[in-house]
Symmetry: C2
């Protein structure tokens, strides 16, 4: 039994996640005249906090938040219903998927799209979760970097997110320590080239083969201690070491995951379960290459597959 | 031996085709600081003649030409060199690809991306090629439809391109006959719904299970005759029956094609030949679902794969 404001409507597609993949799917679903609902607890997903985006074809330079709001507006203008809510339960009865949300809504739909992305990976150190509540530990440099004007910060990680984050933060922070556990940085060269002058000037220091083993401070972060015996005095720490997908809802419906824990999909974004699709960062379809443009394409493909599925006569 | 203005430069990537896939690849290649050249004889590719686009995430409504010019500008601002020319020969010597163009230029590059799309399919009837030279036969309704103000036209085909074209042409033409060989139309519902009032009013007539066997007229098209014995008096005929890929250059380099004659690629847009990639409508990666958003994503992925290939130490 399901109750709630949405429960009278049988949607053609329910989309979990309101980032680029989900909203792009909603645009296509809307064009196909499918009754479409999107449920997401992070409006705009990762794109909303991406700061300046320069590689989305069609916009030479656009703020991630502005881009995703345009896409949201486009989806809504085509009839999609966007709920700011969190899906906490899923079920399948006959041919119908039923979703329950944190606020107590229930949603019924004929097809389901997982487009909920992947959460940021943590250091898994004591006090990390406490400090993450506005007390010095962050997981998105481009989102929260500007908070540390004139301060000293650490950025953990050596990938593109870390270096892109450093490029932003360097405009605000007095000093940045980049702390990377491996022996090299692996950003996009263009982002590395931008950071290089700040490394040369000493404003940014890179520490390779350095592993943080302890977060220092009582009420809030005051620094970190490393396995190699170094100590850094820090006002803030930004953890940029990748993402980890949350798949409890998908596995509840017997959706098959790949070796890395992401949803396995084919070229049509179909999962192993008929009527269930996945798109964007919750898949590994294009490997670790996870971009707005690929998420948008996957969303469009997923919606098209769901549409084709509904068009087909059922046994 | 190669001569020409470009011959002194060893490009990191040469992109054949200047449509959405090629230009999107150039944006990413530019961000990777790869020396990038794009060679295309149809500037903007199919997108340039797409008329109003309403399903590209980020633009609620944009003219195809305007969109692709933004993407071209973006690619050029990141350093890509765009040549309006046609590649007529390819060769591989050692690790270097050599391209010869119609205008006599030669281009050398370390990697190669096929992003040249697929040409429109023809009826293969006598006089068709002659009439296609501005004498009544066309292959893009949204491009040339406006030429027939107050006239009677035929549109061959029942897919989305045909119906989308009819929706545009109905604003200009006095009368439209849609002529489809199968027993049904298969457009996007939203496009069908738009056309329906014109079908109801009789301005647009749909003729199913109707096959054109003869183009009438001497100097220019005056009508068509069908297998079923019907004759239509027409001022213009728009052939919207799909596309056919041109793969002579690819097969010259032993690139493997799929069963439908498109370039076979994996999820990284790699072909069977190291250093050669394909993206956009020249592949069947997403099946018959060929959109700007998917072409752009494939281009981004292809450029990334080419970049990774060049980063790897060679044997």
């Amino acid at each position: 039994m399901f109750y709630g404001l949405m429960s009278d409507i049988q949607f053609d597609i329910a989309i979990i996640g309101s980032g680029m993949a989900g909203l792009s799917a909603a645009i296509y679903a809307g064009r196909y005249e499918m009754r479409t609902v999107i449920i997401g607890d992070e409006p705009g997903g990762a794109t909303a906090s991406a700061w300046t985006i320069e590689n989305y074809p069609g916009y030479k330079e656009i703020d991630g938040y502005d881009l995703i709001m345009k896409v949201k507006d486009q989806a809504e203008s085509l009839g999609a219903k966007v709920l700011h809510d969190k899906v906490i339960s899923v079920d399948k009865t006959g041919e119908t998927f039923s979703l329950g949300t944190e606020s107590g809504q229930t949603v019924a739909a004929k097809t389901l799209l997982f487009a909920h992305g992947a959460a940021r990976r943590k250091l898994k150190l004591p006090k990390e979760d406490d400090f993450a509540l506005g007390k010095g530990v962050h997981y998105c440099t481009t989102c929260d970097g500007p908070l540390y004007k004139g301060k000293t910060i650490g950025i953990v990680g050596g990938g593109d997110a870390a270096i892109k984050g450093a490029n932003l933060a360097v405009q605000y922070a007095e000093k940045i320590h980049i702390i990377e556990i491996t022996n090299s940085l692996k950003p996009e060269p263009v982002n590395m080239a931008r950071l290089q002058p700040f490394i040369n000037s000493g404003k940014v220091e890179v520490h390779l083969e350095t592993e943080i083993v302890e977060l220092l401070g009582n009420d809030r972060l005051t620094g970190v201690r490393t396995k190699e015996g170094k100590e850094f005095v820090l006002d803030g720490l930004f953890v940029e070491i990748g993402a980890v997908p949350e798949m409890a809802l998908a596995t509840k419906l017997d959706v098959k995951l790949d070796d890395y824990g992401y949803i396995a999909v084919n070229n049509e974004m179909e999962t192993n379960i008929p009527g269930i699709y996945a798109a964007g960062d919750s898949t590994n379809f294009f490997g670790h290459f996870k971009q707005d443009i690929t998420a948008a394409a996957m969303g469009a493909v997923a919606a098209t597959s769901a549409f084709n599925y509904l068009q087909k006569p059922k046994d």
